[in-house]
């Protein structure tokens, strides 16, 4: 690492962030997992802790977002969904979550109540409790408005890892790409579009639960920061396989594609908060796809690619007939000028 201080890109979910975590964070801790489980070294969506008759999955996330309230959601919904989706990505049924909230002096009660209500209604949807919490207040300027950290615990008999893709597996994505980031960008930067864009932030356990029942899912990951490009690269690298993606099969809403191209942002690198990438045994793929499509949040699901033997790269067959490599993103995408 050439820089001695943290830049925004270090939090962008790309390669810079991975290097920071691998070179600085993980080596700082001596005990990295519970015996018989998985932990820091696996860098998965959650840690696996063996218990009698199965496994507990534990995950934790801190959430900041600008603006706090955006079309389709808010920081409260985002915090709850982030944790539920990380548990779901491990194949774990969510049991309970906790939250720590840090608030800046001067933050209005009314907004805090809105955020808490939103957390509650998302938890009610999934039917799980918030069982513990912590609230801190810092002086004005100490943080930007509010930060919410959530932890979640779940249970599974068979944990699913992002490192278990097998050649021959097909790749399913449960919904259209890019909606969260583009909706936020349009709000944050005051870009005026005629269409109302909504974030895709959604709790995905209901989708995953049905998918797990429908067929053999070998590997899963939710493409949040770093986007689909980041998630696929991570899965390919950890599984030591190549992934081939068919561009014309990747679901993208037309208006989202248009805006992303206008801003010069690669749609595959944008953050999503309500879709899951699944590696599925080939013979089960249609069954799983059908199950996903039958759910409220999975209607636009699609089989987007296949897993091949290889050394960890992601190849895109473009809709124009060309071929290229999808690289791991570096940091968060930045718009281009022309």
């Amino acid at each position: 690492m050439n820089t001695e201080y943290i830049r925004l890109e270090h939090g962008g979910g790309g390669k810079l962030m991975r290097l920071l975590i691998e070179n600085l964070v993980i080596p700082s801790f001596s005990i990295k997992k519970v015996e018989g489980g998985t932990g820091l070294l696996e860098e998965d969506d959650g840690a696996v802790i063996p218990i009698e008759n199965g496994y507990l999955v534990l995950t934790t996330d801190a959430h900041t977002v600008k603006p706090l309230f955006f079309p389709g959601g808010d920081i409260g919904k985002l915090a709850v969904c982030g944790t539920i989706n990380d548990l779901a990505a491990m194949g774990a049924k969510p049991i309970a979550i906790t939250s720590a909230i840090i608030i800046e002096e001067g933050f209005p009660f009314s907004q805090l109540k809105r955020i808490l209500d939103s957390m509650n209604s998302t938890l009610m949807e999934v039917g799980i409790p918030l069982v513990a919490g912590d609230t801190k207040v810092v002086e004005k300027g100490g943080i930007d408005k509010i930060v919410i950290a959530t932890s979640g615990i779940g249970y599974t008999k068979d944990p699913i890892f992002d490192s278990r893709l097998k050649p021959g597996n097909l790749i399913i994505i449960t919904g259209p790409v890019g909606r969260h980031e583009i909706a936020l960008l349009s709000q944050r930067e005051g870009l005026k579009f005629e269409i109302q864009l909504e974030s895709d932030v959604k709790p995905l356990w209901s989708v995953v639960e049905l998918a797990l029942k429908a067929g053999r899912i070998t590997s899963m990951k939710d493409p949040t920061r770093g986007g689909v490009a980041g998630a696929l690269n991570e899965m390919a690298r950890k599984s030591n396989v190549n992934i081939k993606i068919w561009e014309d099969k990747v679901p993208v809403d037309e208006e989202i594609r248009g805006i992303a191209e206008m801003l010069g942002i690669d749609i595959l690198e944008t953050t999503n908060e309500g879709i899951m990438i699944m590696g599925v045994a080939k013979e089960d793929a249609e069954k799983v796809l059908k199950a996903v499509k039958s759910t409220k949040y999975g209607r636009k699901a699609s089989i987007i690619g296949e897993v091949e033997k290889g050394e960890g790269i992601v190849i895109l067959e473009t809709s124009t007939g060309g071929k290229r490599i999808i690289e791991e993103p570096i940091g968060s995408p930045l718009p281009r000028i022309c």
Partner: protein, 371 residues
């Protein structure tokens, strides 16, 4: 009309592959090398994997088409010094300028991490808005780009911007650098694909002097994959027939005299001056500086900052000056991918996402083809 219907035909796989087939049949005997001079063309070529579709005897190389990449580090250093030396300054910049290092690997991104006030904007009008909202601060906009963004800078300055607003002009123009490159005799290409966006402003006539002077085939092209393939076919036809003219593939947008209003605005506000291009050197009459009557918006004069002299604008071992001229491919540079990466760029072609090396790093299609 939706975005999809606007671009659908120009991305039609069948049309593209059919045309490539025709090209393969008609032009299989010789080797051809063409240069485009636009970051967006490179993005189209690479994003759609077109090098992978084209026959091996037809090569498309990228010239100095990314205004961010060729912005001289002196200008970046100037903006950084302004932040360091003056109180209460907000620097506004386009996103792709944000990570570009000046020297000693420091960039606006580093400045922001150190606590300086840097804001990414989508257009100069966002910068004006920030200036109006912060009238106790000075807002300095880093104005970068070719003839595509210069008119909006000009238009903004003509509409009485607030007193606390000024710019650093790093605007550059395309025809002078083509003249410079062709005159150098260093670029061995049989024709040029001219940039659609720039040409929309300056018009197809603006390149006529080049056709007269250097007898080189030129085609103005749009930005969809089919546009690029059609433009290549037009260039191949010219080469075959021994023609040396300017043709316009992008007629649906580009007109012979361009956008007259935009050109008028630019002429009102800017004067041409010699300008340094990163990796290329000083190119006569290629820069746009503010005319004296707009001095009060010139941050360099307003804050009395000296332009720092930086003679070494790329690092040892970096082959960007060859990459920019189409003489070397990114993969042929020993720094590429090993130490020079988009998160620690060593030369101009890696710094912006429109740069040839950055695009090759990101999409990797060049290496895919050579495998």
């Amino acid at each position: 009309m939706s975005f999809g219907t606007l671009t659908k035909d120009y991305r039609d796989k069948k049309l593209i592959l059919n045309l490539v087939k025709v090209i393969k049949e008609e032009f299989s005997n010789d080797s051809y090398k063409f240069m485009h001079v636009c970051g967006t063309h490179e993005d189209t070529v690479t994003k759609h994997g077109l090098r992978n579709v084209l026959p091996k005897n037809i090569e498309v190389v990228a010239g100095p088409g990314c205004p961010v990449c060729v912005t001289h580090p002196e200008k970046i250093e100037l903006a950084l010094r302004l932040l360091e030396e003056k109180e209460n300054v907000i620097l506004t910049t386009f996103g792709d300028m944000y990570r570009v290092p000046s020297r000693y690997r420091r960039s606006f991104s580093h400045a922001k991490a150190q606590g300086f006030n840097v804001k990414i904007v989508y257009s100069i009008s966002d910068a004006i808005k920030i200036a109006k909202e912060n009238n106790d601060k000075e807002v300095v906009h880093f104005a970068v780009g070719f003839e595509t963004t210069a008119p909006s800078t000009a238009s903004t300055l003509l509409q009485n911007p607030p007193e606390n607003f000024s710019i650093i002009s790093a605007h550059l123009t395309v025809p002078p650098v083509l003249d410079y490159l062709l005159a150098s005799g260093e670029i061995a290409v049989q024709g040029l694909i001219l940039p659609g966006h720039v040409s929309t402003i300056i018009g197809s006539r603006a390149y006529e002097f080049l056709a007269d002077k250097y007898k080189v085939p030129q085609v103005i092209a749009g930005f969809e994959p089919l546009d690029v393939i059609i433009a290549l076919k037009m260039l191949l036809e010219q080469v075959k027939k021994g023609e040396r003219k300017i043709e316009n593939e992008y007629e649906r947008v580009v007109k012979p005299y361009g956008n007259l209003r935009a050109k008028k605005l630019m002429n009102k506000v800017f004067k041409q001056e010699d300008a340094k291009w990163r990796g290329l050197g000083k190119v006569p009459n290629s820069g746009l500086d503010l005319k004296p009557e707009f001095e009060k918006f010139n941050a360099i004069i307003k804050f009395d900052i000296n332009l720092p002299e930086i003679t070494k604008d790329i690092e040892d071992g970096c082959r960007c000056s060859e990459v920019i001229k189409g003489l070397a491919k990114p993969e042929e540079c020993q720094l590429f991918r090993s130490v020079c990466t988009p998160y620690d760029p060593r030369g101009p072609c890696m710094v912006s996402i429109e740069g040839t090396c950055a695009i090759a790093y990101k999409y990797g299609s060049l290496s895919l083809k050579s495998n």
